[in-house]
């Protein structure tokens, strides 16, 4: 029960490790960025999932709203998503430039070209 009760953490860890593995194992520069994006996404889950309470409502100060979810993680992750999008966009832009300069987006071919 306790291991399954924290299944959100299992998903987080799986995404984290899978993303990191793609970054390391793939030589295609675009695929590496996809891996990096998955890796960053796992962190969104790490923050957001514990902020939700079962039966919790949005944080409203009024009669009948006793149990509410913590809104702060959402705000933090909104910022982190913006950062992630900016990183991905910049990374892809650099890959476009690399393709123009080298004619390839395979890391081993690019390293070979500069030898």
């Amino acid at each position: 029960m306790s291991a399954l009760g924290h299944y959100n953490y299992w998903v987080t860890v799986l995404l984290m490790v899978a993303g990191l593995y793609i970054v390391i194992a793939r030589s295609n520069l675009v695929k590496k960025l996809i891996g990096l994006s998955i890796f960053q996404t796992s962190v969104y889950l790490l923050y957001i999932a514990p902020g939700k309470l079962v039966g919790g409502t949005p944080p409203i100060l009024a009669e009948g709203f006793r149990l509410y979810s913590n809104p702060l993680p959402h705000v933090l992750i909104l910022t982190a998503i913006v950062v992630g999008v900016a990183t991905l966009a910049l990374g892809l832009a650099i890959v476009v430039r690399i393709r123009e300069a080298y004619g390839s987006i395979e890391e081993d071919e690019i390293l070979e070209a500069d030898r």
């Binding site: 990191l20 960053q40 993680p73 982190a80 990183t87 910049l90 990374g91 430039r97 690019i110």
Partner: protein
């Protein structure tokens, strides 16, 4: 009234200068705005440092939201010192950049360069001044994203690949940091650094907190290029535009060291870092490996820029060595070396930028007989090189003095011998320049007689002079570092 707003202005002015430079679309106007913003930040940082020295730490509630709910800007002995370093280097590199960047970048991209430069300065200053762990992450990404762009602007196509590799590793580093902060937030419910420090002692030995410490250590080690996580650094420094290399080498890794110090000693506290997890032993082992291997690799490089980049990895090793000692003298050594190495490497990379302008590159085949063609530049490199080695009378000596003191105080004589002995390898790589520039005959590849333009030589020599000045007068550098070390060790004992 305005004086009370200084902690915000020191970051906001360069941050606002960035879109202004973008909107102006003129190289010269963008440069003027960037330079003015950097000079303002430097002046503000000096004022703040003066205030802190006089009346203690300053806490600034951003938007008047009281901490720990609002974001707090906190200037204390350590952050004031790092602020002065970062804004000072930014203010010196900005005038240099005008001629250097104009020669290395297409004219129509100049204003974009200054936009990114301002963003990078704002990001690094923000990382230093903020008292909020998540805000620190956001500033870290502002600084990182702009520095990826700055590196990719290099003329060589290899700059693109270097920037890409730095982007991947830098993002992994920053994400590790944010995972660590997330775990801390789960355990304490706060993101304010001072509040974290107050809440952690009771739960310091729980597994999520230790995992957070591990994540933050690895993440920041990637950012500060601790051996063996330094792989992004040599290429990034070697292929970036000269002004960018000088600025990043002198500031970016140093601010990451600052973050590591902040988390080790202010947030987690000496007890957790030293006794619960064996961080000092790990840091000492990696630092020694960094100092020895990176220095040796530096000796064999074909270009002066790459040589200095590897030397940076080694010099960062000295800084983390001081952190690993976790004693007052060791930390003083680490903090003062953070400053001294910043100005020394800044001076060296600015002078190399001058050579790159005149000779097209700074490979050793272009440097033969350089002392006759560019006597002032060569002399500057030798003096800053002496500071890199740690010769008495230069800034580098002061840092090594404290590191040796820290080692002796802990009874580790072998470590003291290693700090002194490893300087001999630095002699070897500085000697390679002396040999090429002073002892070799000029070849066809050597540039003709003539120095770099005054606007480039003057900022470089200003930093060379600082290398010597801080070798004799340690009342600012070593004194600030000592107060920072006392603060770090005292703050952790709560």
């Amino acid at each position: 009234m305005t004086l009370a707003q200084l902690p915000a202005l020191v970051v906001v002015v360069p941050l606002v200068a960035a879109p202004l430079a973008l909107l102006l679309r003129r190289g010269l106007a963008a440069w003027a705005i960037a330079t003015a913003a950097c000079l303002f930040s430097f002046a503000a940082a000096l004022l703040l440092a003066g205030q802190v020295a006089e009346s203690g730490a300053i806490s600034y509630a951003l938007g008047s939201w009281a901490p720990p709910w609002g974001i707090e800007y906190r200037v204390d002995a350590l952050s004031a010192f790092v602020l002065v370093l970062v804004s000072g280097i930014a203010a010196v590199v900005a005038p240099f950049a005008w001629r250097s960047v104009a020669a290395e970048l297409p004219r129509d991209q100049l204003y974009l360069f200054y936009t990114m430069y301002c963003l990078c300065v704002a990001g690094l200053l923000g990382m230093t001044i903020t008292g909020d762990a998540f805000n620190l992450f956001v500033f870290m990404e502002i600084a990182s994203l702009s520095s990826y762009v700055l590196i990719a602007l290099g003329r060589d196509r290899r700059a693109l690949l270097a920037s890409y590799q730095y982007l991947v590793l830098g993002t992994i580093g920053a994400t590790f940091y944010v995972i660590g902060v997330g775990l801390l937030y789960l355990m304490t419910g706060t993101l304010n650094i001072a509040d974290l420090a107050a809440r952690l002692p009771g739960i310091a030995a729980t597994r999520p907190v230790l995992a957070a410490l591990a994540f933050i250590t690895v993440g920041m080690s990637l950012k500060l290029a601790l051996f063996p996580l330094h792989l992004w650094l040599p290429n990034a420094y070697a292929y970036a535009p000269s002004a960018v290399t000088a600025f990043l080498a002198a500031t970016a890794t140093k601010v990451s060291v600052y973050v590591l110090l902040r988390f080790y000693f202010t947030v987690f506290g000496v007890h957790t870092v030293v006794e619960v997890l064996p961080m000092p032993q790990i840091l000492l082992a990696l630092s020694i490996a960094a100092i020895l291997t990176a220095s040796l690799v530096a000796v064999w490089q074909a270009g002066l820029k790459r040589l200095l980049a590897y030397s940076s990895v080694a010099q960062i090793g000295y800084i983390t060595l001081g952190i690993g000692m976790a004693s007052r003298d060791g930390l003083t050594g680490a903090v003062v070396h953070l400053f001294n190495h910043g100005i020394t490497k800044g001076a060296l990379f600015l002078l190399v930028g001058g050579i790159a302008l005149r000779a097209g590159s700074a490979n050793f085949d272009r440097l033969r007989g350089l002392a006759r063609a560019m006597p002032l530049t060569s002399l500057g490199i030798v003096i800053a090189g002496l500071s890199l080695i740690g010769v008495p009378g230069t800034a580098g000596f002061v840092s090594k003095w404290y590191l040796v003191l820290g080692a002796v105080e802990a009874g580790r004589w072998w470590l003291a011998a290693l700090v002194v002995g490893s300087s001999l390898i630095a002699v070897a790589y500085v000697w390679r320049f002396v040999e090429a520039a002073y002892l070799a005959e000029p070849t066809a590849a050597t540039p003709g007689r003539g120095e770099a333009p005054f606007a480039m030589l003057a900022p470089a020599w200003l930093l060379v002079a600082a290398c010597v000045w801080f070798g004799f007068d340690t009342s600012f550098s070593a004194e600030s570092a000592r107060r920072a070390a006392v603060l770090l060790l005292g703050g952790g004992a709560r």
